[in-house]
Protein backbone atom coordinates (compact mmCIF):
# COMPACT_ATOMS: atom_id res chain seq x y z
CA UNK A 1 0.00 0.00 0.00
CA UNK A 2 1.28 3.45 -0.90
CA UNK A 3 0.51 4.79 2.56
CA UNK A 4 3.30 2.67 3.99
CA UNK A 5 6.07 3.62 1.57
CA UNK A 6 9.07 5.76 2.48
CA UNK A 7 7.93 8.92 0.71
CA UNK A 8 4.57 8.80 2.45
CA UNK A 9 6.17 8.22 5.87
CA UNK A 10 8.24 11.39 5.46
CA UNK A 11 5.12 13.37 4.52
CA UNK A 12 3.05 12.05 7.43
CA UNK A 13 6.10 12.56 9.68
CA UNK A 14 5.65 16.32 9.53
CA UNK A 15 1.97 15.95 10.40
CA UNK A 16 3.07 13.92 13.46
CA UNK A 17 5.23 16.85 14.60
CA UNK A 18 2.29 19.25 14.46
CA UNK A 19 0.11 17.20 16.82
CA UNK A 20 -1.16 18.97 19.90
CA UNK A 21 -0.56 22.30 18.19
CA UNK A 22 -2.37 25.16 16.50
CA UNK A 23 -2.03 26.08 12.83
CA UNK A 24 -3.03 29.70 12.23
CA UNK A 25 -4.29 31.46 9.08
CA UNK A 26 -2.18 34.54 8.31
CA UNK A 27 -2.29 37.03 5.45
CA UNK A 28 1.07 38.79 5.87
CA UNK A 29 4.50 38.60 7.52
CA UNK A 30 3.42 40.63 10.54
CA UNK A 31 0.59 38.22 11.36
CA UNK A 32 2.90 35.25 10.76
CA UNK A 33 5.33 36.61 13.35
CA UNK A 34 2.48 37.13 15.86
CA UNK A 35 1.41 33.53 15.24
CA UNK A 36 4.92 32.13 15.73
CA UNK A 37 5.48 34.18 18.90
CA UNK A 38 2.15 32.96 20.27
CA UNK A 39 3.32 29.35 19.89
CA UNK A 40 1.67 28.32 16.60
CA UNK A 41 3.20 25.11 15.19
CA UNK A 42 2.64 26.28 11.60
CA UNK A 43 1.02 29.08 9.64
CA UNK A 44 -1.33 28.91 6.67
CA UNK A 45 -0.58 31.63 4.13
CA UNK A 46 -3.75 33.13 2.63
CA UNK A 47 -4.77 36.15 0.57
CA UNK A 48 -7.88 36.74 2.71
CA UNK A 49 -9.14 34.93 5.82
CA UNK A 50 -12.34 32.93 5.22
CA UNK A 51 -14.55 35.51 7.01
CA UNK A 52 -13.44 38.14 4.46
CA UNK A 53 -13.86 35.74 1.53
CA UNK A 54 -17.49 35.34 2.63
CA UNK A 55 -18.11 39.09 2.85
CA UNK A 56 -16.24 40.16 -0.27
CA UNK A 57 -17.22 37.26 -2.52
CA UNK A 58 -15.54 36.78 -5.90
CA UNK A 59 -13.24 33.91 -6.87
CA UNK A 60 -10.87 32.91 -4.07
CA UNK A 61 -7.53 31.65 -5.43
CA UNK A 62 -4.08 30.59 -4.20
CA UNK A 63 -2.35 33.44 -2.32
CA UNK A 64 0.09 35.65 -4.20
CA UNK A 65 3.55 34.15 -4.45
CA UNK A 66 5.15 37.32 -3.04
CA UNK A 67 2.92 37.07 0.01
CA UNK A 68 3.79 33.43 0.64
CA UNK A 69 7.49 34.11 0.14
CA UNK A 70 7.37 37.08 2.53
CA UNK A 71 5.84 34.82 5.18
CA UNK A 72 8.42 32.05 4.55
CA UNK A 73 11.16 34.60 5.13
CA UNK A 74 10.06 35.68 8.62
CA UNK A 75 9.18 32.43 10.40
CA UNK A 76 11.05 29.22 11.24
CA UNK A 77 7.88 27.16 11.73
CA UNK A 78 6.35 25.33 8.72
CA UNK A 79 4.48 27.44 6.18
CA UNK A 80 1.41 25.95 4.52
CA UNK A 81 -0.58 27.41 1.64
CA UNK A 82 -3.92 26.61 0.02
CA UNK A 83 -4.61 25.61 -3.56
CA UNK A 84 -8.06 25.29 -5.14
CA UNK A 85 -9.62 21.81 -5.20
CA UNK A 86 -8.34 20.04 -8.32
CA UNK A 87 -5.98 22.88 -9.31
CA UNK A 88 -2.96 20.78 -10.24
CA UNK A 89 -0.98 23.79 -11.50
CA UNK A 90 -1.42 25.85 -8.33
CA UNK A 91 -0.34 22.78 -6.34
CA UNK A 92 2.79 22.34 -8.51
CA UNK A 93 3.68 26.01 -8.05
CA UNK A 94 3.30 25.80 -4.27
CA UNK A 95 5.55 22.74 -4.34
CA UNK A 96 8.13 24.62 -6.41
CA UNK A 97 7.95 27.45 -3.86
CA UNK A 98 8.81 24.82 -1.22
CA UNK A 99 5.87 25.41 1.08
CA UNK A 100 5.90 22.74 3.78
CA UNK A 101 2.29 21.55 3.28
CA UNK A 102 -0.34 22.21 0.60
CA UNK A 103 -3.97 22.48 1.72
CA UNK A 104 -6.24 21.48 -1.15
CA UNK A 105 -9.04 23.52 0.31
CA UNK A 106 -12.77 24.03 -0.02
CA UNK A 107 -12.27 27.55 1.35
CA UNK A 108 -11.01 28.58 -2.10
CA UNK A 109 -13.28 28.42 -5.14
CA UNK A 110 -12.95 24.89 -6.61
CA UNK A 111 -11.12 24.61 -9.95
CA UNK A 112 -12.54 21.14 -10.65
CA UNK A 113 -15.94 20.10 -9.33
CA UNK A 114 -15.36 16.41 -10.04
CA UNK A 115 -11.73 15.61 -9.26
CA UNK A 116 -9.25 16.27 -6.51
CA UNK A 117 -5.49 16.35 -7.14
CA UNK A 118 -3.60 13.02 -7.21
CA UNK A 119 -1.42 13.84 -4.24
CA UNK A 120 0.76 10.72 -4.52
CA UNK A 121 2.37 12.34 -7.56
CA UNK A 122 3.85 15.12 -5.39
CA UNK A 123 6.85 15.31 -3.05
CA UNK A 124 5.19 17.98 -0.91
CA UNK A 125 2.65 16.67 1.63
CA UNK A 126 -1.03 17.60 1.35
CA UNK A 127 -3.80 18.17 3.87
CA UNK A 128 -7.45 17.91 2.79
CA UNK A 129 -10.79 18.57 4.42
CA UNK A 130 -13.51 16.01 5.10
CA UNK A 131 -16.99 15.76 6.60
CA UNK A 132 -17.05 12.03 7.33
CA UNK A 133 -14.96 8.86 7.21
CA UNK A 134 -15.66 8.08 3.55
CA UNK A 135 -14.48 11.51 2.43
CA UNK A 136 -11.38 11.26 4.67
CA UNK A 137 -10.43 7.89 3.15
CA UNK A 138 -11.00 9.10 -0.42
CA UNK A 139 -8.54 11.93 0.22
CA UNK A 140 -6.03 9.59 1.89
CA UNK A 141 -6.47 7.25 -1.08
CA UNK A 142 -5.40 10.16 -3.32
CA UNK A 143 -2.34 10.68 -1.08
CA UNK A 144 -3.29 13.21 1.61
CA UNK A 145 -0.81 12.92 4.52
CA UNK A 146 -3.06 14.77 6.93
CA UNK A 147 -6.82 15.11 7.26
CA UNK A 148 -8.74 17.97 8.80
CA UNK A 149 -12.45 18.00 9.39
CA UNK A 150 -13.89 20.92 7.41
CA UNK A 151 -16.19 22.66 9.84
CA UNK A 152 -17.63 25.86 8.41
CA UNK A 153 -14.68 28.18 7.73
CA UNK A 154 -15.09 31.87 8.50
CA UNK A 155 -18.30 31.36 10.48
CA UNK A 156 -16.98 31.46 14.04
CA UNK A 157 -19.64 28.80 14.64
CA UNK A 158 -18.28 25.45 15.88
CA UNK A 159 -21.39 23.36 15.14
CA UNK A 160 -20.23 22.08 11.72
CA UNK A 161 -16.75 21.30 13.06
CA UNK A 162 -18.36 19.24 15.80
CA UNK A 163 -20.68 17.51 13.33
CA UNK A 164 -17.77 16.53 11.06
CA UNK A 165 -15.45 15.38 13.85
CA UNK A 166 -18.23 13.30 15.39
CA UNK A 167 -19.04 11.80 11.98
CA UNK A 168 -15.41 10.75 11.41
CA UNK A 169 -15.04 9.26 14.90
CA UNK A 170 -18.39 7.48 14.63
CA UNK A 171 -17.34 6.18 11.22
CA UNK A 172 -14.14 4.74 12.71
CA UNK A 173 -16.03 3.07 15.57
CA UNK A 174 -18.58 1.64 13.14
CA UNK A 175 -15.90 0.06 10.97
CA UNK A 176 -14.39 -1.42 14.13
CA UNK A 177 -17.47 -3.48 15.00
CA UNK A 178 -18.01 -4.89 11.51
CA UNK A 179 -17.26 -8.51 10.68
CA UNK A 180 -14.44 -8.88 8.13
CA UNK A 181 -16.96 -10.19 5.60
CA UNK A 182 -18.93 -6.95 5.88
CA UNK A 183 -16.06 -4.60 5.04
CA UNK A 184 -16.39 -4.57 1.25
CA UNK A 185 -20.09 -3.78 1.38
CA UNK A 186 -19.36 -1.03 3.91
CA UNK A 187 -16.57 0.36 1.69
CA UNK A 188 -19.11 0.49 -1.14
CA UNK A 189 -21.63 2.25 1.08
CA UNK A 190 -19.26 5.00 2.32
CA UNK A 191 -17.53 5.18 -1.09
CA UNK A 192 -14.06 4.63 0.27
CA UNK A 193 -11.11 2.45 -0.90
CA UNK A 194 -11.47 -1.09 0.50
CA UNK A 195 -7.79 -1.32 1.60
CA UNK A 196 -8.15 1.80 3.70
CA UNK A 197 -11.45 0.69 5.23
CA UNK A 198 -9.71 -2.58 6.22
CA UNK A 199 -6.77 -0.64 7.65
CA UNK A 200 -9.11 1.43 9.83
CA UNK A 201 -10.98 -1.71 10.95
CA UNK A 202 -7.72 -3.25 12.08
CA UNK A 203 -6.13 -0.17 13.69
CA UNK A 204 -9.11 1.75 15.08
CA UNK A 205 -7.91 5.11 13.74
CA UNK A 206 -7.13 6.96 10.51
CA UNK A 207 -3.77 6.07 8.93
CA UNK A 208 -2.77 9.77 9.05
CA UNK A 209 -3.20 12.46 11.74
CA UNK A 210 -6.70 13.89 12.03
CA UNK A 211 -6.92 17.61 12.80
CA UNK A 212 -9.92 19.91 13.19
CA UNK A 213 -10.67 23.08 11.22
CA UNK A 214 -13.51 25.55 10.74
CA UNK A 215 -15.36 27.69 13.25
CA UNK A 216 -12.94 27.79 16.20
CA UNK A 217 -13.31 31.22 17.84
CA UNK A 218 -12.51 30.65 21.53
CA UNK A 219 -10.17 28.55 23.69
CA UNK A 220 -13.26 26.58 24.73
CA UNK A 221 -14.04 25.75 21.06
CA UNK A 222 -10.47 24.50 20.61
CA UNK A 223 -10.73 22.37 23.77
CA UNK A 224 -14.08 20.97 22.56
CA UNK A 225 -12.71 19.61 19.28
CA UNK A 226 -9.79 18.07 21.19
CA UNK A 227 -12.31 16.34 23.50
CA UNK A 228 -13.99 14.93 20.39
CA UNK A 229 -10.75 13.41 19.12
CA UNK A 230 -8.93 16.10 17.11
CA UNK A 231 -5.14 15.74 17.25
CA UNK A 232 -4.47 19.43 16.51
CA UNK A 233 -6.47 22.52 15.54
CA UNK A 234 -6.52 24.91 12.57
CA UNK A 235 -7.74 28.41 13.44
CA UNK A 236 -8.66 30.75 10.64
CA UNK A 237 -10.61 33.94 11.12
CA UNK A 238 -11.00 33.27 14.87
CA UNK A 239 -7.72 34.98 15.77
CA UNK A 240 -7.21 37.94 13.49
CA UNK A 241 -10.93 38.84 13.45
CA UNK A 242 -11.01 39.04 17.28
CA UNK A 243 -10.43 42.15 19.44
CA UNK A 244 -7.01 41.18 20.70
CA UNK A 245 -5.37 38.71 18.29
CA UNK A 246 -2.08 38.38 20.22
CA UNK A 247 -3.67 37.30 23.47
CA UNK A 248 -6.33 35.16 21.82
CA UNK A 249 -3.65 33.35 19.79
CA UNK A 250 -1.68 32.50 22.95
CA UNK A 251 -4.87 31.40 24.74
CA UNK A 252 -5.97 29.06 21.96
CA UNK A 253 -2.48 27.51 21.79
CA UNK A 254 -2.60 26.84 25.53
CA UNK A 255 -6.14 25.47 25.35
CA UNK A 256 -5.06 22.82 22.81
CA UNK A 257 -2.30 21.68 25.20
CA UNK A 258 -4.40 21.80 28.39
CA UNK A 259 -7.79 20.69 27.00
CA UNK A 260 -8.14 18.04 29.71
CA UNK A 261 -7.70 20.56 32.54
CA UNK A 262 -10.78 22.78 33.09
CA UNK A 263 -9.05 24.90 35.77
CA UNK A 264 -6.28 25.73 33.31
CA UNK A 265 -8.90 26.57 30.70
CA UNK A 266 -10.44 29.09 33.12
CA UNK A 267 -7.07 30.75 33.67
CA UNK A 268 -6.33 30.79 29.95
CA UNK A 269 -9.70 32.22 28.90
CA UNK A 270 -9.77 35.31 31.14
CA UNK A 271 -9.40 38.85 29.80
CA UNK A 272 -9.31 38.07 26.10
CA UNK A 273 -11.77 40.76 24.91
CA UNK A 274 -14.44 40.03 22.33
CA UNK A 275 -14.27 36.99 20.03
CA UNK A 276 -15.07 37.38 16.32
CA UNK A 277 -18.78 38.13 15.92
CA UNK A 278 -19.57 35.09 13.76
CA UNK A 279 -22.41 33.78 11.65
CA UNK A 280 -25.03 31.21 12.60
CA UNK A 281 -24.07 28.50 10.12
CA UNK A 282 -27.60 27.03 10.41
CA UNK A 283 -28.86 30.13 8.57
CA UNK A 284 -26.47 29.77 5.63
CA UNK A 285 -27.96 28.52 2.37
CA UNK A 286 -26.41 25.31 0.94
CA UNK A 287 -24.63 27.46 -1.68
CA UNK A 288 -23.10 29.60 1.06
CA UNK A 289 -21.66 26.61 2.91
CA UNK A 290 -18.00 26.16 2.02
CA UNK A 291 -17.94 22.68 3.57
CA UNK A 292 -20.19 21.37 0.79
CA UNK A 293 -17.46 21.94 -1.77
CA UNK A 294 -15.48 18.83 -2.74
CA UNK A 295 -16.92 15.34 -2.24
Amino acid sequence: MQILNEKFRVKAGLAEMLKGGVIMDVTNAEQAKIAEDAGAVAVMALERVPADIRVEGGVARMASLEKIHEIQEVVQIPVMAKCRIGHIAEARMLEALEVDFVDESEVLTPADDENHVNKHAFEVPFVCGCRNLGEALRRIGEGAAMIRTKGEAGSGDIVEGVRHMRAVQRGIRTVGILDEHELMAHAKEIQAPYELVSWVAENGRLPVPNFSAGGVATPADAALVMVLGAEAVFVGSGIFKADDPDRRAIAIVQAVTHWQDPKKLLEISRGLGEAMSGLDSGKLTPEEMLSRRGW
Partner: protein
Protein backbone atom coordinates in the same frame (compact mmCIF):
# COMPACT_ATOMS: atom_id res chain seq x y z
CA UNK B 1 8.25 0.53 37.51
CA UNK B 2 10.27 3.57 36.44
CA UNK B 3 8.14 6.60 35.67
CA UNK B 4 9.37 8.14 32.41
CA UNK B 5 7.95 11.61 31.77
CA UNK B 6 7.27 12.78 28.24
CA UNK B 7 6.98 16.51 27.69
CA UNK B 8 3.49 16.60 26.15
CA UNK B 9 2.91 20.27 25.44
CA UNK B 10 2.94 19.65 21.70
CA UNK B 11 4.54 17.25 19.20
CA UNK B 12 4.79 13.48 18.72
CA UNK B 13 4.76 12.68 22.43
CA UNK B 14 2.31 9.78 21.98
CA UNK B 15 4.80 7.89 19.77
CA UNK B 16 7.40 8.09 22.55
CA UNK B 17 4.88 6.97 25.16
CA UNK B 18 4.12 3.81 23.15
CA UNK B 19 7.84 2.90 23.04
CA UNK B 20 8.41 3.57 26.75
CA UNK B 21 5.44 1.36 27.53
CA UNK B 22 6.75 -1.40 25.26
CA UNK B 23 10.17 -1.47 26.93
CA UNK B 24 9.04 -1.65 30.50
CA UNK B 25 8.87 1.99 31.62
CA UNK B 26 5.73 3.74 32.84
CA UNK B 27 5.03 6.63 30.44
CA UNK B 28 3.71 9.78 32.10
CA UNK B 29 2.61 12.92 30.24
CA UNK B 30 4.19 16.15 31.48
CA UNK B 31 2.30 19.41 30.90
CA UNK B 32 2.62 21.13 34.27
CA UNK B 33 5.13 21.60 37.11
CA UNK B 34 3.11 19.11 39.12
CA UNK B 35 3.44 16.48 36.36
CA UNK B 36 7.20 17.05 36.21
CA UNK B 37 7.68 16.60 39.95
CA UNK B 38 6.64 12.93 39.88
CA UNK B 39 8.76 11.61 36.98
CA UNK B 40 12.20 10.00 37.25
CA UNK B 41 13.41 10.57 33.68
CA UNK B 42 12.22 12.81 30.84
CA UNK B 43 11.78 12.67 27.06
CA UNK B 44 11.68 15.89 25.02
CA UNK B 45 9.82 14.85 21.83
CA UNK B 46 9.80 16.10 18.25
CA UNK B 47 7.59 19.04 17.37
CA UNK B 48 8.16 22.76 17.03
CA UNK B 49 10.71 24.09 19.54
CA UNK B 50 9.34 27.66 19.46
CA UNK B 51 5.85 26.42 20.34
CA UNK B 52 7.22 24.28 23.19
CA UNK B 53 9.19 27.23 24.60
CA UNK B 54 6.05 29.38 24.53
CA UNK B 55 4.06 26.67 26.29
CA UNK B 56 6.73 26.15 28.96
CA UNK B 57 6.73 29.82 29.97
CA UNK B 58 3.58 30.17 32.16
CA UNK B 59 4.76 27.61 34.73
CA UNK B 60 8.48 28.21 34.16
CA UNK B 61 8.77 24.58 33.06
CA UNK B 62 12.03 25.37 31.26
CA UNK B 63 13.71 26.43 34.52
CA UNK B 64 12.24 23.49 36.40
CA UNK B 65 13.43 21.02 33.76
CA UNK B 66 16.83 22.69 33.85
CA UNK B 67 17.03 22.21 37.63
CA UNK B 68 15.97 18.57 37.45
CA UNK B 69 18.50 17.69 34.71
CA UNK B 70 21.29 19.47 36.58
CA UNK B 71 20.32 17.40 39.63
CA UNK B 72 20.91 14.23 37.60
CA UNK B 73 17.61 13.36 35.87
CA UNK B 74 18.23 11.45 32.63
CA UNK B 75 16.79 12.94 29.44
CA UNK B 76 16.23 11.76 25.87
CA UNK B 77 15.70 14.55 23.33
CA UNK B 78 14.65 14.09 19.71
CA UNK B 79 14.69 16.77 16.99
CA UNK B 80 13.00 19.82 18.57
CA UNK B 81 14.12 18.45 21.95
CA UNK B 82 17.76 18.79 20.91
CA UNK B 83 17.13 22.44 20.03
CA UNK B 84 15.70 22.96 23.53
CA UNK B 85 18.81 21.44 25.16
CA UNK B 86 21.53 22.97 22.97
CA UNK B 87 24.10 25.54 24.13
CA UNK B 88 23.50 27.79 21.12
CA UNK B 89 20.73 27.87 18.46
CA UNK B 90 20.90 29.34 14.97
CA UNK B 91 18.87 31.47 14.20
CA UNK B 92 18.99 32.82 17.73
CA UNK B 93 16.44 31.30 20.12
CA UNK B 94 16.56 30.74 23.88
CA UNK B 95 17.51 27.24 25.04
CA UNK B 96 18.37 25.36 28.23
CA UNK B 97 22.06 25.11 27.34
CA UNK B 98 22.40 21.74 29.08
CA UNK B 99 24.06 19.93 26.20
CA UNK B 100 27.34 21.32 24.91
CA UNK B 101 26.44 21.40 21.21
CA UNK B 102 25.40 24.17 18.83
CA UNK B 103 22.52 23.51 16.43
CA UNK B 104 21.09 25.16 13.33
CA UNK B 105 17.30 24.88 12.96
CA UNK B 106 15.88 23.48 9.71
CA UNK B 107 19.46 23.19 8.44
CA UNK B 108 18.67 20.55 5.82
CA UNK B 109 15.93 22.77 4.35
CA UNK B 110 12.16 22.88 4.25
CA UNK B 111 9.86 19.82 4.25
CA UNK B 112 10.75 18.90 0.62
CA UNK B 113 14.24 18.09 1.93
CA UNK B 114 13.01 15.90 4.78
CA UNK B 115 14.10 12.29 4.22
CA UNK B 116 14.85 8.85 5.56
CA UNK B 117 18.60 8.23 5.67
CA UNK B 118 20.89 5.37 6.57
CA UNK B 119 22.92 6.16 9.71
CA UNK B 120 26.32 4.82 10.75
CA UNK B 121 26.38 3.74 14.41
CA UNK B 122 28.94 3.56 17.16
CA UNK B 123 29.49 0.03 18.53
CA UNK B 124 27.82 1.01 21.83
CA UNK B 125 24.48 0.73 20.06
CA UNK B 126 25.21 -2.89 19.11
CA UNK B 127 25.00 -4.49 15.69
CA UNK B 128 24.27 -4.03 12.87
CA UNK B 129 26.19 -0.75 12.66
CA UNK B 130 23.52 0.79 10.44
CA UNK B 131 20.09 2.13 11.26
CA UNK B 132 17.33 4.06 9.54
CA UNK B 133 16.94 7.72 10.60
CA UNK B 134 13.80 9.75 9.88
CA UNK B 135 14.69 13.44 9.44
CA UNK B 136 11.78 15.91 9.42
CA UNK B 137 12.87 19.53 8.93
CA UNK B 138 15.72 18.45 11.14
CA UNK B 139 18.26 20.58 12.98
CA UNK B 140 21.98 20.03 12.30
CA UNK B 141 24.55 19.80 15.08
CA UNK B 142 27.21 22.30 14.00
CA UNK B 143 29.57 22.02 16.99
CA UNK B 144 30.18 19.18 19.45
CA UNK B 145 31.68 20.12 22.84
CA UNK B 146 34.55 18.25 24.50
CA UNK B 147 32.50 16.17 26.92
CA UNK B 148 30.03 15.05 24.25
CA UNK B 149 30.28 11.62 22.57
CA UNK B 150 28.90 11.01 19.09
CA UNK B 151 26.97 7.72 18.74
CA UNK B 152 25.63 8.04 15.17
CA UNK B 153 26.42 9.88 11.97
CA UNK B 154 24.53 10.88 8.83
CA UNK B 155 27.43 11.09 6.38
CA UNK B 156 29.72 13.38 8.41
CA UNK B 157 27.05 15.01 10.55
CA UNK B 158 26.71 13.87 14.16
CA UNK B 159 23.01 12.98 14.64
CA UNK B 160 22.98 11.06 17.95
CA UNK B 161 25.09 12.35 20.84
CA UNK B 162 25.39 11.71 24.55
CA UNK B 163 26.87 13.49 27.52
CA UNK B 164 26.38 12.35 31.10
CA UNK B 165 22.73 11.32 31.39
CA UNK B 166 21.62 13.22 28.29
CA UNK B 167 20.95 11.39 24.99
CA UNK B 168 20.01 13.52 21.98
CA UNK B 169 18.97 12.62 18.40
CA UNK B 170 18.34 15.10 15.59
CA UNK B 171 16.22 12.41 13.88
CA UNK B 172 13.08 10.58 15.07
CA UNK B 173 13.78 7.12 16.54
CA UNK B 174 10.13 7.18 17.70
CA UNK B 175 8.91 7.02 14.09
CA UNK B 176 10.68 3.80 13.05
CA UNK B 177 10.29 0.16 13.93
CA UNK B 178 13.97 0.25 14.98
CA UNK B 179 13.93 0.80 18.76
CA UNK B 180 17.61 0.76 19.75
CA UNK B 181 17.74 4.42 20.78
CA UNK B 182 14.89 4.02 23.26
CA UNK B 183 16.35 0.75 24.57
CA UNK B 184 19.72 2.48 25.03
CA UNK B 185 18.01 5.33 26.90
CA UNK B 186 15.98 3.07 29.16
CA UNK B 187 19.18 1.14 29.90
CA UNK B 188 20.87 4.47 30.73
CA UNK B 189 18.16 5.30 33.28
CA UNK B 190 18.39 1.82 34.80
CA UNK B 191 15.15 0.39 33.52
CA UNK B 192 15.39 -3.21 32.37
CA UNK B 193 11.96 -4.13 31.14
Amino acid sequence: MLRVGILSLQGDFAAHARLVDRFGGQPSEVRTAKDLAVVEALILPGGESSAMLRLMAPEKLDERINDRIRAGMAVLATCAGVILLARKVEPDQSSLGLLDVDVARNAYGRQLHSSIESLRLDSRLGSPDEMEGVFIRAPRITRVGKGVTVLAWRDRDPVLVTSGRVLAATFHPELTTESRVHKYFLHLVGCHG
